[in-house]
């Protein structure tokens, strides 16, 4: 599901629901094991369910333990709103970046 783009960024395309969430979890877990910050471009994300947001949360917690961060770049507006409702914006290693 993840595609490497320029500038050390990964892009997540399409729809994340119960049919695809396990694939996202595996791919993001693999990326999180490199001991580097992960930047995830969400500008082409069409849909993500709560289990998908949980995958972000899990990856950010794991990255945080290694002193790294997960940055969600250009997410659809619902993503930061839902993360806040779920209480997942308190994690220092999970960042949201909206380019101006």
């Amino acid at each position: 599901m993840l595609e490497r783009t320029g500038g050390g960024c990964l892009a997540l395309h399409g729809e994340v629901d119960m049919a695809t969430v396990d694939l996202l979890a595996r791919e993001l877990a693999a990326e999180s094991e490199r001991g580097e910050d992960v930047r995830l471009d969400l500008s082409h994300l069409a849909f993500i369910d709560i289990a998908g947001l949980w995958v972000f949360h899990e990856a950010a917690v794991k990255l945080g333990r290694a002193g790294c961060t997960l940055t969600l770049v250009s997410p659809p507006p619902a993503v930061p709103r839902m993360l806040a409702l779920l209480g997942w914006t308190e994690i220092a290693s999970l960042r949201v970046e909206q380019p101006p």
Partner: protein, 317 residues
Amino acid sequence: MTGGVVETVREFVHEALLYDGDDEFISATAEFIRQGVDAGEPVLVVVGAAKIARLREELNGAGDAVLFADMAELGANPARIIPAWQQFVEQHLRDDRPVRGIDEPISAERTADELVECQRHEWLLNLAFADAPAWRLLCPYDVSKLADAVIEEALRSHPIVVRSGERGASASYRGLADPARPFDLPLSAPPANAEVLEFDGSHLAGARQLVCRGAADAGLSRARANDFVLAVNEILTNSVRHGGGSGLLRIWPDDGRLVCEVEDRGRIDDPLVDRRRPHPDQISGRGLWMANQICDLVQLRSADGGGNIVRLHMSRG
């Protein structure tokens, strides 16, 4: 109220205040608030904005220590009110000092569906705080505007009733037994023009498209449509994972709203399932709670013989 006698509460006390018009509302609730303020108790008042303004005026500075919240914001969907009380109680209640609150979810402006869910909320309060430390919650009912049947249900859902300054036990209080009744009453039948989709785990993307189209036809904004799609998707996912793997999605417009109903073969045993704030580290069990944070109204029915119905309402906003 019992001649202004301040009693020490030893358990959760859930009282209905039957008042006749706004003037009595103000005098009775202001006295209840002053008693709390004088005793150093934290007080949260969740009522309509106009009443908040009048109460602030009436309390004349004594209200500075009181927290107010507009029912139209906090409790438009009544399933959001219990989590708010839980948060207030957790933050403020101490062994040596109770707290108190006022909660007026029921007004004549509520739709029939909202009224039923408000009544369910009132009943669930007894269950939600049955094992909680002592605190007092007063629920005002305007007898000059509400139907007799609404007042009768208030007497069944509140162990204590206050009327014309007299405070006593409610003879018709239902108690904690049989949590479902009378809320296992069936919902109104979906209209004949409802679109119906038989779904299993392979149909979620199509179901989301159907909701998206319905939302556009009903005139929902893009943001509200997207939020609604997310809420419906969570309920569908619950059905696939926990409700027998498949079910029926029905969707129809209703007077400026879009309604989606998900029916499956699951069974819900916990009456408070949709209003427990999930712990941030909890891996699942968030779908119904999130649906309540997103939607204007969520109606949950679980039949004894199995079979859940979750009906979600989203207005144009």
